[in-house]
Amino acid sequence: MVDPIREGLEIPPLAVHFSAERNGRYCQLVNEINPLHFDAEYARSLGYRDIVIAGVFTASYFPELLDRWLGRAVRVEKMVLKFRLPAYLNDTVTYRGKVTKATNEGACQRIECDLWSENASGERLAQATVIARLG
């Protein structure tokens, strides 16, 4: 567990490889209907270089980043997401972030974090502002 949490603290990065196996399992889980997320030929016909990983899947790792960092479940209260560029099949996406605000509220602590994901080229793919409660 990380303690205490203070403004400016950097969150340890989390690297995720979006392999065919991982993406395939996710598509099965949600009964994916959009071929962009499982059909490479289709994706290329639209001008993408490969299968595009669903944003709702890639965004799952923002709360996960906090969860893994703190070593305990975090109660996310609000998350503002903006998608900028797609993550492709076989991309390794790194999730990073830092704490921008931390306040103590009795036995609880509320934190606000700026999180983002980037590909191997350092391009920012998505960003999230997350408000979460600890304790």
Binding site: V16, R22, R25, Y26, L29, V30, N31, I33, N34, P35, L36, H37, Y42, L46, G47, Y48, R49, V52, I53, A54, G55, V56, F57, A59, S60, Y61, F62, P63, E64, D67, R72, A73, V74, R75, V76, E77, K78, M79, V80, L81, K82, F83, R84, L85, P86, L125, A126
Partner: protein, 214 residues
């Protein structure tokens, strides 16, 4: 602008002839009843207000879904994320008299809403706009949790519509639609929501430059 510059989030959900027909599939070129009972493809409507009303009507026809997320499904999801063998932690959840329930992790929330987005693509946008829409792009979300969600507990998922604007970019025309996804418990309490924004890439000019909010 290359397509990938616009594609993000869910990515584009194309209304494609390759998609199988039948319930739940897109039906390009569908017509709607339009003004005084005449049937006219909505894509011929050249004002955004008409389109907004048609969209509102189409979304209102999408039924409220009732779901209960099995704990096994959440377990599988966490395995996919790379949390093999782990259970969602109950320590962050509010104590439940009479036993412990497994909370749904926030990381699962957007996945939980996937059926609503599918309804939006198929029943809503697909049938309304048909092949006038080249692709649907998830560009942003505002997610709020008001209470903990639990596995194996029934929730109602409701899709809404709160705004439509027309924009023009280097790739052509597109519409910006805001579609609230809301989750209610059986008592009717809203437990979570997501203000989903989609860009709808269009073939031609649909609507005018005016921005409207429903």
């Amino acid at each position: 602008m290359p397509p990938q510059a616009l594609a993000s989030g869910l990515g584009e959900c194309m209304i494609s002839a390759r998609r199988p027909s039948g319930p739940g599939s897109f039906r390009p070129g569908s017509a709607i009843t339009h003004r005084k009972g005449r049937t006219k493809p909505v894509t011929e409507a050249n004002d955004l207000e008409t389109l907004r009303k048609a969209m509102e009507e189409a979304i209102s026809r999408i039924p409220v879904r009732e779901i209960a997320v099995p704990a096994a499904k959440v377990r599988e999801f966490r395995e996919i994320l790379g949390r093999e063998g782990s259970e969602p932690s109950a320590e962050s959840a509010d104590p439940i008299p009479g036993g412990e329930r497994v909370p749904i992790p926030e990381s699962y929330f957007l996945t939980l809403l996937a059926p609503l987005s599918h309804d939006l693509f198929t029943i809503g946008i697909g049938r309304l706009l048909g092949d006038a829409v080249l692709g649907i792009i998830h560009t942003s979300s505002v997610v709020e949790f008001y209470d903990t969600l639990y596995c194996d507990t029934p929730y109602r998922l409701k899709l809404g519509f709160s705004g439509l604007a027309r924009k023009r970019g280097r790739m052509g025309g597109y519409l910006v639609g805001t579609f609230p996804h809301e989750v209610y418990d059986r008592e009717g309490n809203r437990v979570a929501s997501d203000r989903h924004v989609f860009f709808l890439r269009t073939r031609g000019e649909i609507g005018n430059e005016e921005e409207l909010h429903g």
